[in-house]
């Protein structure tokens, strides 16, 4: 039995699903956690009116009665952040699921699992010097056996002073004190608030690209490190597969994958898929650079609401160590639905489609936590946020989609027609945008790729022109078009099938390096130019169209993920084949 006498207690007066109202707790603060009922379910304070407070419960509230005990905890929603997060799966409240039972009944107590987690021992290598004066963000030491990236133990925010004691190289538990800075004991793992943004020094203005390994994104709609992107797409458009590809192949140090209100089997699949794949940069497994936050659609709704913030906070934890982190949230629409569900039960006035009026500010508070920054310790690091959006009925004018578009730097809109014609990834080139294209182009130009901007512009122009001609050809027939326009249409097809399409399941094509992407694009552009010249020299357009363009279309599958030379060889073969028409 908990020492109730020490705590501020009250009683439950109303229960409606996850909404619980309590009365009689003094001085309850917003966001403070309250334990309600016999199972001591965690509930978060969302409104206080006189002696009465409204809470959102993080577990199923079946059986909770009017009159049940409610005890304030004095703490906000928090989770243990320390070594051993990588490769693990947590629920939306940061409780390790690998230690939880098969069935997630509310009886399980989060603290017990967290304690088991803290009991594990890690190797600690001290690096700081005893006697030196330390500030927040300074490195005290590292934990070498924790995942694929270096785990750095930092002086926490708000702690400054002389390092009076530092643990020697040893095996320590998460709960052990590792250092004493000023009058503060620093432990290997700390309980940290999950909703609060972790502080940093400044934001960077410089724009640096994130390489996702997906050609249509890297080429047409690139994303900067520390920027935010939204991926709206109806069901069956390959949203989850695209996000999983980014989780596998983007060149970040750490991936935080938040499964928010999505499928259980999918989480099992992500876990298994990442465990089997090798990380090309470290030689370890991809799962060892990944933290999975899983709050599937049948798990309690309000924990789903928290899971998004949990994911971002974990990302910031690794950012503070100096790593580049990508947070993938699938799907922000389910998160918004949780907000709506609670607002409705609370009797809030709805804005659009029943969503609360603060939906856009809630979305902004999520996407705005992305950023490339100088950390407290002076390191440059980033949190990139990629949020999936699941518009009901594929309607891109619904509130979550339209609000998300305002806050992101890139929009990767998935198109149902492309998906149905098995064009994957089904990223629409008409509906998507990337706001940082110019800045990223400038970065490419100063980093040894002077042709990048021009190449991208030519590709964008080719596909737009081919689209226009195709709709024209549907009306007047292909044969009515002049030869050079037919070559543009041909070029559009080669660009779509030879460059923009990408086979996620192929060992050669699943990931594509910058150099191979450029080579593939050069291949298509040069072949199209050669075709145009042939037509100008009097060769019939139909004759050019009859040529077997197999080398162009198969190059992406037949050369390795980074094999630009192989693609260049296809270019020689193809240009030679076209020469023969003369």
């Amino acid at each position: 039995m908990a020492p109730v006498t020490q705590r501020r207690v009250g009683n439950v007066v109303r229960v409606s699903g996850p909404l619980v109202e309590v009365e009689g707790i003094e001085g309850l603060a917003m966001l403070e956690l309250v334990e309600v009922g016999p199972y001591r379910i965690s509930a978060e304070t969302v409104a206080v009116t006189g002696p009465r407070a409204t809470l959102q419960a993080y577990e199923y509230t079946g059986g909770l009665k009017v009159g049940d005990l409610a005890a304030a905890t004095g703490a906000e929603l928090s989770g243990v952040l320390g070594p051993g997060l990588l490769g693990q799966v947590f629920d939306g409240l940061m409780r390790p699921l690998s230690m939880a039972p098969l069935w997630l009944a509310p009886e399980r107590t989060g603290s017990a699992q967290a304690n088991t987690f803290l009991e594990r021992r890690w190797n600690f290598d001290p690096t700081a010097t005893v006697g030196s004066r330390l500030a927040p963000g300074d490195v005290l030491g590292t934990v070498p056996d924790s995942g694929a990236v270096e785990h750095r133990l930092l002086v926490p925010a708000g702690v400054t002073g002389e390092l009076t004691w530092l643990a020697p190289q040893s095996r320590l538990r998460g709960s052990d004190v590792v250092a004493r800075v000023g009058d503060h004991d620093v432990r290997l793992a700390e309980r940290a608030a999950l909703r609060r943004q972790r502080p940093f020094r400044t934001r960077h203005a410089e724009v640096v690209p994130l390489h996702t390994g997906q050609r249509v994104l890297d080429l047409l709609f690139p994303l900067a490190r520390g920027a935010a992107a939204a991926v709206p797409g109806g069901f069956g458009t390959g949203k989850t597969l695209l996000l999983q590809q980014i989780a596998k192949w983007s060149d970040a140090d750490v991936i935080v994958y938040v499964g928010c209100g999505e499928r259980g089997n999918e989480m099992a699949d992500v876990l298994e898929g990442l465990s089997e794949l090798e990380d090309g940069r470290t030689g370890g497994r991809l799962i060892d650079r990944t933290v999975i936050i899983a709050n599937t659609s049948n798990m309690p709704m309000m924990a789903r609401e928290a899971s998004i913030f949990t994911g971002i906070t974990v990302a910031e934890f690794y950012r503070d160590m100096g790593h580049d982190v990508v947070v993938i949230a699938d799907s922000t629409s389910r998160w918004a639905e949780a907000l709506r569900e609670f607002a409705n039960r609370n009797g809030d006035l709805p804005a659009e489609e029943g969503y609360p009026a603060d939906l856009s500010s809630a979305l902004a508070s999520f996407y705005e936590r992305a950023g490339r920054v100088t950390t407290l310790g002076g390191r440059t690091a980033s949190v990139t946020v990629i949020g999936a959006v699941s518009p009901p009925g594929g309607d891109m004018s619904e509130p979550v989609t339209t609000d998300s578009q305002r806050f992101v730097r890139a929009l990767w809109m998935l198109d149902r027609d492309l998906a149905y014609s098995r064009h994957y990834p089904a990223v629409s080139w008409t509906g998507s945008f990337a706001r940082d294209v110019d800045a990223l182009g400038a970065w490419q130009a100063t980093h040894g790729r002077p042709g990048w901007v021009e190449r991208r512009a030519r590709a964008a122009a080719l596909i737009a022109e081919a689209d226009r001609l195709e709709s024209l050809a549907e009306v007047i027939g292909v044969s009515s078009l002049p030869g050079h326009e037919r070559m543009t249409m041909l070029g559009g097809r080669l660009l779509r099938e030879g460059v923009l399409m990408q086979n996620a399941l192929s060992a050669n094509d699943g990931f594509c390096s910058v150099e191979k992407t450029a080579a593939l694009l050069d291949l298509v552009l040069d072949v199209v130019a050669a075709c145009r010249r042939l037509v100008e020299q009097g060769i019939a357009a139909a004759a050019v169209e009859q040529v077997d363009f197999g080398p162009v279309l198969r190059a992406r599958e037949e050369s390795g993920p980074s094999d630009a030379a192989g693609v260049a060889a296809s270019r020689t073969v193809m240009l030679g084949r076209l020469e023969q028409l003369l």
């Binding site: 109303r14 109202e21 079946g62 098969l102 069935w103 997630l104 069956g236 499928r263």
Partner: protein
């Protein structure tokens, strides 16, 4: 199993009213009756989501679930509707916990109504274990990704949208199409290759004619003790439908994870279920999201569909096959749309396919089983299966284009290749897609029929199938080589 074994629960008679709400306080201060809702005053000590028995003045009994408790006011939804009830003389007794049912193999071979009460003249269903009908979320870390197929004996499903053990795969239909014939055919024929296979069929809002049809079609499997039937008719209480799929899934989970069976749960019609949810929501004056459906419809459907799966360290599996009719054939209707977001693919039935005389009228090009890749192929079905399926679908797409072209210019004006695609489609529709409502085809037969249809195409067109498989399976190929 979860089991939260309940020491307070004594053995009882009826399965769906196991609450033995015996000598407990009963409440009589009914303040309001509105739609399916009953508002009770003076209800101290009542818990949220508790199960209740409502005794009427005239001696009848109804059942309710607590939707909200607010100080001494409790709001209940009455499962059998509030029709004929008056404010006076009602006594409400509470179970002290959410609805639990008894589970076990006693359910097999039984026919019950939507609340789990026998319709077959037998005694109430009993079992050794009590479980809450709402179930608990399955820890995703303990899930085993689905791997092995469920074979339905239907060519189009087994070959092109393979159902995988532990998958959730819905049938999207339109009123008037034979989705019930298809669902019952799957229910009576499905197996998991020699393993013990059980079916739970939950009917919601079906007409009496349909219910008679279902009982008749499934009689054999029921008699064999492999089937549980839960039947909620169209004129049965609407709110009862909220319970029907939950009882079905609770029974199924126990059969799967405690007794090691592969269980297929068929739920038809989910549109009727969603209407019951909408009715309660409207009566509570909740703010609607789309088309009057409440904003939590996604989460509500997910708590049903997500109960499919396989679990590490357990033998059985729960495969879920919801059937829903899209009003006006609109795939963006909330029930179809939200289902599509939760499930792993969809089987779409289309009126124009039926008009071509094909049963089952599956629209091959818009149907998809997302887990097929992990449930079919070498070691699971047959080595050539995935190649053949990809080739068949690609050829269907091409054949459709050719047919559209033929309508404009006439078949005679088509290239020889295009004509072969039209011949392929004709062959495929006649000998592969079309199948009798009683006809069972083994996987071998299905794939052989697929090859026979592909043989209508020039071998050079079969680019998605490896040469090894062409040599091994293409009819006539061996003779030529």
């Amino acid at each position: 199993m979860t089991g939260s074994p309940d020491p307070g629960a004594a053995p009882v008679e009826a399965a769906a009213s196991p609450q033995q709400i015996g000598v407990q306080v009963s409440y009589g201060d009914v303040r309001e009756l509105r739609g399916p809702l009953l508002v009770l005053g003076g209800a101290d000590g009542v818990g949220w989501d508790e199960f209740a028995e409502v005794d009427l003045a005239g001696g009848g009994q109804r059942h309710g679930l607590v939707l909200e408790v607010d100080r001494d006011i409790a709001t209940l939804q009455v499962l059998e509707s509030t029709g004929g009830m008056a404010l006076g003389g009602i006594r409400v007794r509470f179970a002290g916990r959410p609805l639990h049912i008894q589970v076990g193999s006693g359910w097999l071979g039984r026919v019950c109504n939507g609340r789990g009460e026998p319709l077959d003249g037998g005694p109430p269903v009993t079992g050794a274990t009590f479980l809450p009908v709402s179930g608990w979320p399955l820890n995703p870390v303990h899930r085993e990704p689905p791997r092995q197929p469920v074979l339905t004996g239907l060519s189009v499903i087994d070959a092109l949208t393979t159902l995988v053990r532990g998958q959730k795969l819905p049938i999207f239909s339109v009123p008037g199409l034979p989705h019930l014939a298809l669902a019952t055919q799957i229910a009576s024929q499905a197996t998991s290759e020699g393993r013990s296979f059980r079916v739970v069929f939950a009917a919601m809002g079906l007409t009496h004619a349909d219910i008679a049809y279902v009982r008749d079609r499934l009689e054999e499997r029921s008699a064999a003790g492999e089937l549980v039937l839960l039947l909620n008719a169209a004129n049965d209480p609407v709110i009862e439908r909220i319970l029907t799929p939950r009882i079905a899934l609770t029974v199924a989970e126990h059969l799967a994870y405690a007794e090691g069976h592969d269980v297929l749960v068929i739920m038809s019609d989910m549109t009727s279920y969603a209407e019951a949810i909408r009715e309660v929501s409207a009566a509570r004056r909740e703010i609607p999201a789309r088309r009057g459906y409440p904003g939590y419809l996604y989460s509500d459907l997910a708590t049903l569909y997500e109960r499919c799966g396989r679990v590490q360290g357990h033998d059985g599996s729960v495969t879920v096959l919801p059937v829903l009719t899209m009003p006006g054939g609109d795939i963006t209707h909330p029930v179809a749309d939200l289902t599509g977001y939760i499930t792993e693919g969809q089987i779409v039935l289309a009126p124009d396919v039926l008009a071509r005389g094909i049963y089952p009228p599956v629209d091959v090009l818009s149907s998809l089983s997302r887990l097929m890749r992990s449930g079919a192929g070498k070691g699971r079905t047959r080595e050539d299966h995935l190649d053949v399926a990809a080739q068949m679908i690609a050829a269907m797409a091409r054949a459709r284009q050719a047919a559209e072209l033929a309508e404009l210019v006439g078949v005679a004006a088509l290239s020889e290749t295009d004509r072969s695609y039209i011949a392929y489609r004709t062959h495929l529709e006649r000998d592969f897609l079309n199948q009798g409502p009683e006809e069972f085809r083994s996987l071998e037969e299905t794939l052989d029929r697929a090859w026979a249809a592909l043989a209508a195409l020039p071998p050079a067109e079969l680019t998605m199938v490896s040469t090894t498989f062409l040599d091994r399976y293409l009819p006539g190929r061996k003779d030529r080589s």
